[in-house]
Amino acid sequence: MTASCFPAPAPVSRRVRAYFAPVDRTAQRPVLFDPAQQGLFDLDHPPAPWIDLGFIQNFARKAISKSSAITAGVPAAPLEQVRESIGAQVSLQFLAWTKLSMALAAASQHMNAIAPDAPAAAVQSGSTATTLVLSANDAAGFAAGQIVAVDLDYCGQTGYIGSPICGAYLRQPLTDADYIRRITFNTGLVTQVTDSTLHLALPLAGGAPASGSKVQPVAGFVDREGGSFYHEWSGLFVMEGVQGERIFFHYPRLQPMGSAEESALPLAARGQGRLERVVLNAQFLALPVADPLDNERIVCYRSFLPAGNALV
């Protein structure tokens, strides 16, 4: 006789996958994740605006919420419990160095190292998140294999800088016209230059460039120890079980904390070589949001989608 359900033991999972989405700092609006509507999304193609950061390791969650008891009577006995504070921390290691993983692993402003003597070229209309249309003259200055940053000229703004992904906070105006392109997350690798168009390997994190944007080649990325700016992202961590079940950890507001740190992991067993893989350590502080369901202040959601036919 064929069974129609089975008692499922604890999920077995091989690894954790991380997705991040930018918090709208000006409107103070995080990105929410609804497991009922989006829980079965293709892990290789997350729903917008989530960005796939790939598999991570040493993912650890730590609750720092505190509760205490209200006592009454003689001798005193607990009457009720109250939550004195709420908070949580998340730590993990990114297995790849990318613009975004490096920025998330640094609790400070993250910048693009703009190539020297590389004036910004105006991006023409018709550009998309994966193709940048330039004038023929400007396009001749670019080549496949270059990293580019695409964004507006800086015009003396203060406050949160960068849209839709905020990359800095300025108290005082600067004179650097390239400043927004220094801190933008709209970076990409040029795979091909054809007919005045730069083709990018992946879509720009901020989507199609805004009207008036310019493009500049980038040599690499820089972060600093110190500074007063903290990025803020919504985080989603997914464990996929071998029976098809999924565990989601959704942190609507995460700010990197601590300092930029790396770990060196030996490639081979001890005594079998000296090559080491350098991975980015990241640590985050979870900030509270009001749950739109009932206005309760929370820092994290844990969701579980059971395997098909599993007893619940």
Partner: protein, 161 residues
């Protein structure tokens, strides 16, 4: 565990047929994808070349769970002498290709579990799953290069199995 073992083998067989349809073996009068289960065929005086041979080894069970977890150690053996066109001088390349193909067909590391004792086969409720492969060093025997890979294959025992 027989359903899990059958499902694991059929999964690898189907994936291999998709990945490299030219890797075949003529066995008992039929051309089949180049992977077989050693204990389901007549004994070989010498293991055939350029195909994968699945051999089942150890067995274990964790009976303290909501569903009993069964584990079976699987060894996949393969060897090659290279091809006659190149006088066997390509045997290292041929073994590298077999390494890559095996790694490819092992992913993803799970597959639906079926009962192949019924006709047609019956889909069961759980998945058979396995850990990452452990490749052993290549062994040279005259003109033949051989490697074995060990994989732990797991399955939950379902009601009626």
């Amino acid at each position: 565990m027989q359903n899990a073992k059958d499902s694991f083998y059929i999964c690898l067989r189907n994936r291999l047929a998709t990945l490299n349809f030219e890797r075949t073996i003529l066995l008992r009068g039929a051309v089949r994808p180049g992977i077989l289960v050693e204990d389901a065929e007549a004994p070989f005086p010498q293991l055939p070349s350029d195909i994968y041979i699945v051999r089942w080894l150890g067995h274990g069970a964790d009976i303290d769970l909501a569903s009993t977890l069964l584990a079976e150690e699987c060894e996949i053996i393969y060897g090659t002498c290279g091809c006659q066109t190149y006088g066997g001088l390509d045997r290292g390349r041929a073994l590298t290709q077999m390494d890559a193909e095996l790694l490819a067909i092992l992913q993803p590391f799970s597959a639906p579990k079926w009962d192949y004792c019924t006709q047609p086969p019956t889909a069961l409720l759980t998945q058979v799953f396995w850990d990452e492969p452990v490749f052993s060093p290549a062994v040279t025997q005259r003109d033949r290069l051989t490697r074995s890979v060990k994989i732990m294959v797991y399955s939950y025992q379902e009601e009626g199995e």
